[in-house]
Symmetry: D2
């Protein structure tokens, strides 16, 4: 049985919009507009129990989930929302043991979510250039107990010539101009590795899709995810009056090799710049494709 | 670098609706309406490479992700879709090390997805009564390489008096009448543990919500998830003409204790039957609540 | 050219959430938090012109459309929204010359919209029992200049034995329990006339659909309508962050005669009560259907 | 009572995807895969009655609505869908007596819908350049009995210097490049008249919005409309499994005059070319705006 102790993390839950995530501290009180609670009263209780405030309101003592940590991060900074995070995990098949590259740590919400899934044998390598955000992210990741599974680096992958990591299973990009880092991301991803970019605008989806083709990615998919809350009540079930607006679009793809022999492709990938990618794309003319096709056919005959 | 060998799993990918997931078998050929491929030609290639069929079509050799395994299961049986699975994982905060209860194994798609996240230290305990489906699920879970993390049991939790597992972090219910097992699920869940039910109809959401309140669950949330595909193309970006219809609604909640002392709550929970739950709910009148409230207040003063 | 005069209706438009609909009154001023405007300054201007407030904000002088009248009604009372009204008009094919029955006048938003389409040769017969609302509706309909095309009656069609109108082209029902009036609505509708009910909950859709079948309606369709606003801006086009929530579901159907000869059907329709409808529905067993089918076949052979 | 006669239009309705719209012709038969019906058997029946085919299927004899005419047009050509048409009517406040300009007649579905609303005192002026489509549209409009209220003209408003109509209440544009005709549309619209453009892509919305601002339109709104069908059945109510995909986005605006005196504005509008519009937009710098603002303020003081 999970009993709350001093220092235990607790989500004080009144309802979905009034909830407070904190660690129990014996002598502290929680002051809210629905009344006051003593932390000490929570100690010794099982998670799920409830306390009553001095204003006669019940507050539940819940064991925080990753969702609660993410929604806490939400206050004050921009986050990737659970509805979008969930699809990223499911579509890219993120799982225990994977190595994840993240470009644009932001407040660390996506970092934490992904780390909680790939741990204990996997790892998240996350890069950002904003010192202030990096500190916020570090705090958020630590609070969720995931620091061990995350390496934060202050490095601008748009300009750096360094290839800090390789053979990544999945790359997550949260930049305004994700196409800029594509050639570099290719070098860090393993063959057929997955990429996901957070694209708030349609223009980003469009530009990125063009760049993904140029950079030899396949299985490209752009989606948006709408979550609708339903007020289920006896005899009066309907969708909620409160609508949930746009958060972001998502762009997914997988690293491929466009018909070159393995050895050459690798060499080429290393040298890839945006300009070259364009040239290469142009060079993939029908004529060339046909020649190669013949060669392939021949080999399949042998 | 990940090189394809004999016996390696490969997703032969032409496009999103034409793809084949199988293990490489040196002497086999893949026969499709876009042409024929020899498995042998894939051996030695890096994942992400492509082969050309004898009809001049390129097919990519992708390393299968959990998504690919789930979508493969889809053929012929009903599955929980990635858009819904993703939200389940994100909302319940499923992560490495958790113990998951699943009632209604079905074809094993949700089982596999969840197992891939909780491994290696977590486990999925899944229950079903349909022998035929249990075999299909077993095959699907094995193919995804997850058998080690899943225990499949043929047991009807609607009628059985057995409590086969306890202290589960999350319970997933995929039954036509999820409310029937709620009292039992309570006993198997840890305090403030999460529940998710797959509810294809609004009537199920409504009935389940009522039962969740009766059975002392909190943070109840019903949602639906709409995924819209966007055709991102230069100068012509728009949503896809093909719409994606209804799959299921989802109902989430967390196990709570409604104002009883911990000890009593546990006893009561064990004895709970549907009939009793109803009576109890009725008895929670304002008067009673007020009395209890006073008692609680007194104790918080001490 | 449309020039604004004294008494002309004008929509003072600053943006979609700050706009004021009123008639020009030579000596009045419009006082808003974006500044003050003199009505007199609008006189003599062409519709579409703009004035500047004393706080340097531009306000456009627009000629009010039916949409503006409806959105004005919105303040303070519940309305049927344009997205839903539009579908009602398009699906039922509402047009000039039709006779419309409305049960539940409410604030008169749907009444006004429909009257603006069926005029000058059509008419709306609207019924309500709430004196207070009837006065609000009357004012709203008059303001939109449509009183001539609307007859408002204080009559409870749920209990009254009167059949105040017949041969209606379309019936619009905005009641909490629309199924109660169905037998009566049948008598007022012409053959194959259309019905539309405003149903905010799924339970209403379900109950009404069952009742529509019992009462011999066909082409039954339940829908919901989601409007999403798009912020189209150079290089940054995306859906709006602000979501628009649930308003209502809509239920459509057309009056049919279930396999009876014309003469009988009419007689029966007059006598129809809810109880009878149920009995009748039950009586439509396979056996009976088969017998009738044979008869029909015979006649088609002749 | 509406009785079906020889030559009467009838929608033979089996279900939403199997329905046939035609005029009764005494000696004809309707041959379908659900059996054969003799037109003669419909004569003398009330609309709403049903006939049985020789395969024992019931078919309802419905009086066609404008919706039925539009959905019939759908077969073989692209149409604007009722969900979108309805919003156009409701948002622009289309009603009896209005004069409507349509650029891009297409198959005449929007033409017919709008004509059915503005008749008998209003009129639709529609322009297209494709002779083949104009003939299709003519047939569709005639079948719906609306020829009297529509003037079809073969004229390319993109290039023509002619201003064939003026003082239009509403302009509907269904062109791939709606921005090209904006200066011309301005001249044909009355002050504060409404414009609606059918824009299947996000790129069109973006380009058009920029052009609308340049061409002095206000109240600009881009929307998309999602219709979801609900299968309402006893105890099993849910959204339909079949999703309805993207049709088009819609862009709405109203003609305004940006702070110029009425006379000047008109002159300018006439002279407007695309190039000029751009220059003008650039010139509207903050500095200039301020100057103008002062001038306007002065005049309002006098």
């Amino acid at each position: 049985m999970s009993i709350i102790k001093d220092k235990s993390p607790v989500l004080f839950f009144y309802n979905d919009s009034k909830k407070w995530l904190m660690n129990i501290s014996k002598k502290e009180e929680l002051h809210t507009h629905i009344g006051v609670l003593k932390h000490a009263d929570a100690i010794g209780k099982e998670y799920g129990s409830r306390l009553m405030t001095n204003k006669d309101k019940y507050v539940y003592l819940l064991e925080p989930t990753m969702y609660d940590y993410i929604m806490k991060i939400q206050h004050g900074t921009q986050i990737v929302y659970p509805k979008d995070l969930g699809y990223i995990a499911a579509r890219a098949g993120i799982q225990d043991g994977q190595k994840i590259l993240e470009i644009g740590t932001g407040s660390g919400s996506m970092t934490s979510f992904v780390a909680s899934i790939v741990k204990p044998r996997g790892h998240v390598y996350t890069f950002d250039v904003d010192e202030k955000f990096m500190k916020i992210a570090e705090k958020n990741i630590r609070r969720a107990g995931l620091s061990k599974y995350v390496t934060q680096t202050n490095l601008d992958l748009k300009t750096s010539k360094e290839i800090p990591v390789t053979e990544m299973d999945v790359a997550l990009i949260d930049l305004g101009d994700p196409w800029v880092v594509l050639p570099k991301v290719r070098q860090m991803l393993k063959g057929s590795g997955c990429i996901f970019a957070i694209c708030p605008t349609m223009n980003q989806l469009e530009k990125l899709t063009i760049a993904l083709i140029e950079n030899e990615f396949t299985d490209i998919e752009s989606t948006e995810h709408i979550i609708r809350t339903i007020a289920a009540r006896e005899g009066k079930t309907r969708h909620s009056f409160q609508g949930i607006g746009h958060t972001t679009y998502l762009c997914f793809a997988r690293k491929a090799f466009f018909g070159r022999t393995k050895a050459k492709a690798t060499t080429k990938a290393k040298a890839t710049t945006k300009a070259k990618a364009t040239t290469k794309a142009k060079a993939t003319t029908k004529a060339k494709a046909t020649t190669k096709a013949k060669a392939t056919k021949k080999s399949t005959k042998n």
